[in-house]
C-alpha cells in the first residue's frame, strides 16, 4: 500500500508517523512518502514559538479539546527521557492575563498546576485584573521537525521536494491514499472558502533572564492580537499580531513597532534585549479543523483522501491528537479496501 502525504510541517510529519506506528506491522508492504515544497526550517511550524496552548475556549469543538490534551500527554511522556531536548520539548510556566474575569479555559485540566493568579501576582502586570498561572509545554518546531524527519527516514519513509499541483497527479503515480496536510495552501488543491490566513508576525530577541511566558488576552480584538512573550530554549518570541485575510509573508515595520511597544510595556526589561530577527507566517485559520475522509471521483476511478488541515495557531498544540485520528481514518480505508488481505 502506498501512502502519499502532502506537506512537511508538523501536521504532515506527525501524521506520517502515526500511520507508520499503527500500520507498519499490519500492512506489508507499507510505503509512505512525503511530498512538500517547503521543509524545515522553512515551514509555518518552524516559525511558531512552539508553545502548547489552545485558544481559551473551544466553542463546542470538544473533539479539538480532546486532541489537544492527547498531544499534551504525549509530549509530557518524553520528559522522563533525555530525548526530550533533542525533540525541542521542555516545560515552561507562565501567565495568562485578562482585563476582566473570564471563565476557566478549555485546557485547564490538560496543563499542570493550573490556578488563578493572586492579587500580588496581578500587581506585576498593571492593566490586567484577572488571569491564570500554569505549567505548560514547549515543543519547538526547529528541533521537533528535524527529529520527526529523522525518525521517519530511519523507518524508510521517503521525502520528495516537489510541489504537488493536484490530488490526481499523485493518484496517477500510484498512490493509494493521499493525506492532505497542506496547511494554509490547501485551497490550491481544493478550494475551501472556510480556510483563511491569520497572518502573524513575531520578533525574536535575546533575553535569557526571562523564564516565563506571558500571554495577554483582549476579548474585543480577538486571539493573538494582544501582546505575548514566549521564551524559548535560545531566544524569546515576542508577538501579538493576527490579521485575518492578509496573505503577506513579508515583515512589516508597522507591525514590528506595534508588537515591540506593547511588549515593552508588558515587560520593561525587554528594553535591553537584543533584537535578532522578525518573522511572518500565515496561520491556517478555519472555523474548525478539517479532519475527515473524502473519496474524490477522478474519471472512472476514485481517489481516497484524508484531509488534515486548518489548525490555525494551534498546530503544534493539537498535532498528535489529529495525527492519531487521521491514522484511524486511514485504518477505515484499509479495512474497507483490504479486509481480505490484512488478515
Amino acid at each position: 500500500m502506498r501512502v502519499a502525504v502532502i506537506g512537511a510541517g508538523v501536521i504532515g510529519l506527525s501524521t506520517a508517523q502515526s500511520i507508520y506506528e499503527q500500520y507498519h506491522s499490519i500492512i506489508s508492504p507499507l510505503t509512505i512518502e512525503v511530498y512538500a515544497d517547503r521543509f524545515t526550517p522553512l515551514t509555518t511550524s518552524d516559525g511558531a514559538a512552539g508553545f502548547w496552548q489552545p485558544y481559551l475556549y473551544d466553542k463546542g469543538n470538544v473533539q479539538e479539546t480532546k486532541w489537544n490534551k492527547e498531544t499534551f500527554d504525549y509530549l509530557l511522556s518524553f520528559l522522563s527521557s533525555s530525548e526530550s531536548i533533542k525533540m525541542g520539548i521542555f516545560l515552561q510556566s507562565g501567565y495568562n492575563l485578562c482585563t476582566e474575569p473570564a471563565p476557566d479555559p478549555s485546557f485547564k485540566d490538560a496543563v499542570l498546576g493550573f490556578r488563578q493568579l493572586t492579587e500580588r501576582e496581578l500587581k506585576m502586570f498593571p492593566g490586567f485584573t484577572y488571569g491564570w498561572f500554569n505549567t505548560a509545554l514547549m515543543v519547538e518546531g526547529k528541533s521537533y521537525l528535524p527529529w520527526l524527519m529523522d525518525w521517519l527516514q530511519k523507518r524508510g519513509v521517503k521525502f520528495y521536494h516537489r510541489k504537488i499541483e493536484s490530488f490526481k497527479e499523485l493518484a496517477e503515480t500510484g498512490a493509494d491514499v493521499i493525506i492532505n496536510c497542506t496547511g494554509i495552501r490547501s485551497g490550491e488543491l481544493q478550494p475551501d472558502p472556510d480556510l483563511k490566513p491569520g497572518r502573524g508576525q513575531i520578533v525574536k530577541v535575546d533575553a535569557p533572564w526571562l523564564k516565563h511566558w506571558i500571554i495577554t488576552h483582549n476579548f474585543t480584538t480577538g486571539v493573538y492580537s494582544s501582546p505575548y512573550i514566549i521564551p524559548g530554549s535560545r531566544l524569546v518570541t515576542v508577538g501579538g499580531i493576527f490579521q485575518l485575510g492578509n496573505w503577506s509573508e513579508q515583515n512589516n515595520s508597522v507591525d514590528h513597532k506595534t508588537i515591540w511597544e506593547s511588549a515593552c510595556r508588558l515587560e520593561p526589561s525587554l528594553k535591553h534585549a537584543r533584537i535578532v530577527e522578525d518573522w511572518s507566517g500565515l496561520r491556517p485559520v478555519r472555523s474548525k479543523v478539517r479532519l475527515e475522509r473524502e473519496t474524490i471521483q477522478s474519471g472512472a476511478s476514485t481517489i481516497e483522501v484524508i484531509h488534515n488541515y486548518g489548525h490555525g495557531g494551534f498546530g503544534l498544540t493539537i498535532h498528535r491528537g489529529c495525527a492519531q485520528e487521521a491514522a484511524r481514518l486511514f485504518g477505515q480505508i484499509v479495512l474497507h479496501e483490504h479486509s481480505m488481505k490484512v488478515w
Binding site: S82, F90, R234, S269
Partner: protein, 308 residues
C-alpha cells in the same frame, strides 16, 4: 554637622547591600566599603541566588519573616523593572520535592510529593557590580584593602559595620549549559538542586561538615550530576561550563546586632551583619535594613561633637 564616617567591611552581597542601605538613607554619613575580595571572587558570586525561606533557631520568627519579606519585595521590584537584566535579578518558578510518600501524590512527579512556587533569582556576579554603581550614586566609596583587624579602622572611621562573612561550611556547585531549563528543582533535603540562571544552570550541591579543602572534588562532581540527572533527565545533554567550591559563612544564626568596642583608646560602635550561611542572597536586603536601623541607633547615641 560633621559627616559621620562609616566603614563597611566586606564586598559580598551583605556588605554591598548594607553599604547601599546606609548611603541611600543617611546623607549625613560618608560610606566607604572596604574588602580584600570583590566580585567575581566573593562567596556570593558562587551562589545560585535563589530566594528561599530559612529558619534560624534563636531569632524571633517575626524578625526572620521581616528579613525575608523586605528582601523579597526589594528584589521583586528590580525583577519587574527595566533594571532586571543588568542587576541579574529575575523571577524563577519551580518545584521543591520530597521523597516521603504522601497521602496525596501529584501525578507528574509520580514518585515525589512537592510544592510549586515562584520566587526570585539574584545573580551576584551582576548584582554586586550593579549595587556598586548604586553606592557611588549615593556618594559612597569603595576601597580594595585587606582588613585584618577592626583596630586598623578605628582612627579613620566613626562607625564600623562588619559584613565579613568568612566561610565555614563548604559547598560545591557546577555551572552547566542547558538553556531549555526554565524551572528550578530542589530536593527538600537541600542536598540536590537545579537552578536555571540567565546564562547557565547552577546544579549542586554538597555540604560537607568539617571539610576545609577549597578544591573541586571530582567525586562530588559526579555525585552532583548523577543526582541531578535523576531529577531532570535532559541534563544528560548539558555541557559542564565550570565548577565552583565555596565556603558558606554558616553560623547558628546570622549575627545582626551592635556593640561598642574599645579600639585604640576609643569606644567605637560596631554593627555586625554576618553569618548568613546559605541564605545570604535571600536575607541580604532585609538584614541590611536591620543593620541600617542599628547604625541609626549608633548615630542617635553619638555625642554631637565627639569626632576627631
Amino acid at each position: 554637622m560633621k559627616t559621620v564616617r562609616v566603614a563597611v567591611v566586606g564586598a559580598g552581597v551583605i556588605g554591598f547591600s548594607t553599604a547601599v542601605c546606609i548611603a541611600e538613607a543617611l546623607p549625613s554619613c560618608s560610606v566607604t566599603l572596604l574588602a580584600d575580595k570583590f566580585s567575581p571572587d566573593t562567596t556570593s558570586d558562587g551562589a545560585a541566588g535563589i530566594l528561599f525561606a530559612a529558619k534560624f533557631p534563636d531569632i524571633p520568627l517575626e524578625r526572620q519573616k521581616r528579613w525575608f519579606k523586605d528582601s523579597f519585595e526589594h528584589l521583586l521590584a528590580i525583577a519587574q523593572s527595566q533594571h532586571s537584566p543588568e542587576a541579574g535579578v529575575m523571577l524563577s518558578s519551580g518545584w521543591q520535592i520530597f521523597k516521603e510518600v504522601p497521602a496525596d501524590k501529584k501525578p507528574f512527579w509520580s514518585e515525589f510529593f512537592g510544592q510549586a512556587f515562584t520566587t526570585i533569582k539574584c545573580e551576584c556576579t551582576s548584582y554586586l557590580p550593579w549595587l556598586e554603581k548604586r553606592l557611588s550614586l549615593s556618594g559612597g566609596q569603595v576601597q580594595q584593602r585587606r582588613v585584618t583587624s577592626l583596630d586598623e579602622l578605628s582612627s579613620s572611621y566613626d562607625i564600623i559595620v562588619n559584613c565579613s562573612g568568612l566561610g565555614s561550611k563548604i559547598g560545591q556547585v557546577l555551572k552547566v549549559v542547558a538553556p531549555w531549563l526554565q524551572h528550578f528543582i530542589r530536593d527538600g533535603d537541600g542536598k540536590t538542586y537545579i537552578y536555571p540562571g540567565i546564562h547557565s544552570v547552577t546544579v549542586g550541591g554538597t555540604r560537607q561538615e568539617g571539610d576545609w579543602r577549597l578544591q573541586v572534588d571530582e567525586g562530588d562532581t559526579e555525585s552532583i550530576l548523577e543526582r541531578c540527572i535523576r531529577l531532570e533527565p535532559s541534563l544528560r545533554e548539558a555541557k559542564v561550563l565550570s565548577k565552583w567550591v565555596g565556603l558558606r559563612p554558616s553560623r547558628r544564626n546570622p549575627r545582626v546586632e551592635r556593640e561598642v568596642v574599645q579600639l585604640q583608646g576609643r569606644r567605637v560602635p560596631v554593627v555586625h551583619n554576618y553569618g548568613h550561611g546559605g541564605w545570604g542572597v535571600t536575607l541580604a536586603w532585609g538584614t541590611a535594613l536591620d543593620a541600617l536601623g542599628l547604625v541609626r541607633n549608633c548615630l542617635r547615641e553619638m555625642p554631637p561633637q565627639a569626632k576627631l
